[in-house]
Amino acid sequence: MARAAPTPGQKLSFIFFVILSSLILYIDITSNNFKSIKNGFKSFKISSSYIAKEISIEPLKSIISLSKSKSQLIEENKDLREALELSYLNNYLISKENIFFKDKEIIKKAHNENNYKFEYDIAYLKSIDPNMYNCCDKHRMFIDIKQNSDNLYVESVVFNTEGLVGQIIGESKFYEVLLLTDISHSLPIKLNSSEFFCNAKGSGRSEYIICTYNPLVWTKEIKENQIFYTSGLGGIYPKDIEVGYVSSIEVVDSTQTNIEIKILANPLNGNIFGVLRY
């Protein structure tokens, strides 16, 4: 369809608007009369874009970042926890304040001579059956030693940030650890005064080992909450490492007394372990 050519009236209106525009342009260039309009529009633009962003993009972004940050936080938390456990483990042996060794002088000497002989490798928990640990006799766990050199780890001592956990008894893909509480485990222990020695066997209950002795042979009186240390007699565990404290004493008969010792370390606390080489 053909468009009609502008009438003289329309031409005049175009001329009028061109002159008006020119006037406005001149005024705008030479003065700041339109500044308030421009500033008002700018503020409107900024605030409306802000509101639009808040309504449309921000909720989406927050949902995305929430899902992202959640998994990121979990990952970070895992990493931090691992780093923290490692630092605990690292500090555990070399700290003068720890309870690992009875003789704090060992640490002090090593610290002064800048020579730490307590070498250990880091191991990660691969599997442990908590139900079995809490209910039954067989207390085992499997660990994966990370700084695996050519060392033979069988019979090496395993500890965590709380204390001794057990010893390695088997080596396949992962290392099998016989926990202190396993009924087939036997740990030579002694009192601080070295006047009492006994072999503490695993009780089959979590966190407890039992020391059975003949009171006619060992006349030293044992009290509750007394602390027991490794005696170092078995050749597996180093001497003078704090094991636990007496939680109860049961006199079976005149020739047998059972001491129940609550051990310090719980293998279920933490996933990182140290494997002591000495």
């Binding site: 468009r3 502008p6 329309q10 175009f14 608007f17 342009l25």
Partner: protein, 157 residues
């Protein structure tokens, strides 16, 4: 009313693209006034004559959203509208090449005029010439797209 709003939003959208690509092309001395070309195309494709008031209003609105001097776009928009209205029937006799040349050169005129107003002390003939060339090519490119690609989307203004 809806049609007017649609046009305004379209102008805002094109102006937004215009401002964004201006940064990119200014490094190679090219200015492609997308908003102006879009408005010219709207006037060209319109079935009826666009009034001077509408051209003035659109020009004023573009001045406002593009933060340029008030009156700069209104003058050019009014003149372009008048010229297109005047020659609307003649354009039907023109080839695509001639129409593209017309739009390309009018875009160059826009660039020259706006540069005279807003960039007088750094007015560059290189920018003007390169922009003219780029605008003509751009119009050809748009015409080619329109001719050879199927019209799946049609925006009714």
């Amino acid at each position: 009313m809806i049609s007017l709003l649609k046009r305004l939003f379209l102008i805002i959208f094109i102006n937004f693209i215009d401002l964004n690509i201006a940064l990119l092309f200014s490094k190679i001395f090219i200015i492609i006034p997308l908003t102006f070309l879009a408005f010219s195309y709207y006037v060209y494709k319109s079935d009826k004559n666009i009034s001077s008031l509408e051209a003035f209003s659109f020009g004023f609105f573009v001045d406002l959203i593009s933060d340029s001097y008030f009156g700069l776009n209104t003058i050019i928009y009014c003149l372009t509208t008048y010229f297109i209205n005047q020659n609307a029937n003649s354009f039907k006799l023109f080839s695509y090449l001639q129409i593209c040349l017309f739009f390309g050169l009018s875009a160059s005129a826009y660039v020259g005029f706006s540069q005279l107003i807003i960039n007088l002390y750094n007015f560059s003939y290189v920018t003007l010439l390169v922009s003219s060339f780029a605008n003509i090519i751009f119009c050809f490119f748009i015409a080619l797209i329109a001719s050879y690609f199927p019209k799946r989307i049609s925006i009714k203004l």
